[in-house]
């Protein structure tokens, strides 16, 4: 990849990819490391898509794989995560007004968190998410359903 192309990809997508990684890792230092790994892979890769939409999907896929690798390697990961709250990624007042508690998200599995982020925040379809996360579409649908139901039940309990 040429440096000019690389800079364009970085400037367009670094923030989006970083937020996704941060969402999954809940650790700024890990997210910083993983982001570096991701963009080094981008730099070395000959298979970066040309189309911007495909580029982002490809980057999310690389980021997710890098995060999983990081999970495997790092034992201190879980300790770091305890100091990070999901609400730090959000506009606090608006989330509070909705009555949604971000700590409920902690109960979700990593894949479920990734699916909900890509589906609810970025608006990807289950098919697109299946491609990004290298899962079967039906598997994504089931996991999304389970995660959404869990969050909805939490919300309902809180309302009661």
């Amino acid at each position: 990849m040429q440096e000019k192309e690389f800079r364009a990809v970085y400037n367009t997508f670094a923030g989006k990819v970083y937020t996704f990684i941060l969402w999954l890792t809940q650790s700024r230092s890990s997210a910083d490391d993983i982001l570096q790994e991701v963009f080094l892979k981008v730099w070395r890769s000959d298979s970066v898509p040309k189309n911007e939409e495909e580029q982002l999907r490809w980057l999310y896929s690389v980021a997710r794989n890098a995060t999983v690798d990081h999970f495997r390697k790092s034992n201190r990961f879980s300790k770091l995560r305890q100091n990070f709250k999901h609400e730090l990624l959000c506009t606090p007042r608006e989330s509070a007004e909705l009555g949604f508690e971000w700590e409920w998200v902690e109960e979700l599995a990593e894949t479920e968190k990734a699916i909900l982020y890509l589906h609810l925040r970025d608006g990807y379809t289950y098919r697109e998410i299946a491609e990004i996360l290298d899962l079967k579409e039906n598997n994504v649908r089931i996991k999304a359903f389970r995660a959404l139901k869990l969050l909805r039940n939490k919300l309902k309990k809180k309302e009661l």
């Binding site: 963009f39 909805r152 309902k156």
Partner: protein, 112 residues
């Protein structure tokens, strides 16, 4: 609204409706069934919460590290490319030839 509507859509259908993937047929039921309406509203709250996740800025130091690492990677890959393909560089071949000629010439001179 009434709870007397007997046939409720499945939770999965309600979720899809709440997230804007399927409309039409369910609309009538949801407007008349408080139970399903409540379910859909709760799902919409979950969706709205996720829409408030803000894009996080990457710090300048991380950006610098990334660009430094790709520069290092470039020079490393240039060296490794040269090691693997040194015989394809005409300048290097010419230089090597001159050294060999000089080396052989000096050996010849000193052996006299």
């Amino acid at each position: 609204m009434s709870d007397t509507v007997q046939k409720h859509p499945s939770e999965e259908e309600l979720i899809q409706y709440a997230l804007g993937q399927e409309c039409g047929e369910l609309e009538e039921h949801i407007t008349t069934c408080s139970q399903c309406y409540e379910f859909v509203e709760e799902m919409r709250i979950v969706k709205a919460a996720f829409s408030h996740i803000d894009e996080q800025p990457v710090s300048g130091s991380v950006r610098n590290k990334i660009f430094e690492s790709i520069k290092k990677d470039t020079s490393l890959s240039k060296i490794s490319h040269f090691i693997q393909h040194w015989y394809t560089y005409p300048f290097f071949i010419g230089l090597l030839t001159i050294f060999w000629v000089l080396f052989l010439y000096f050996i010849y001179i000193f052996s006299q």
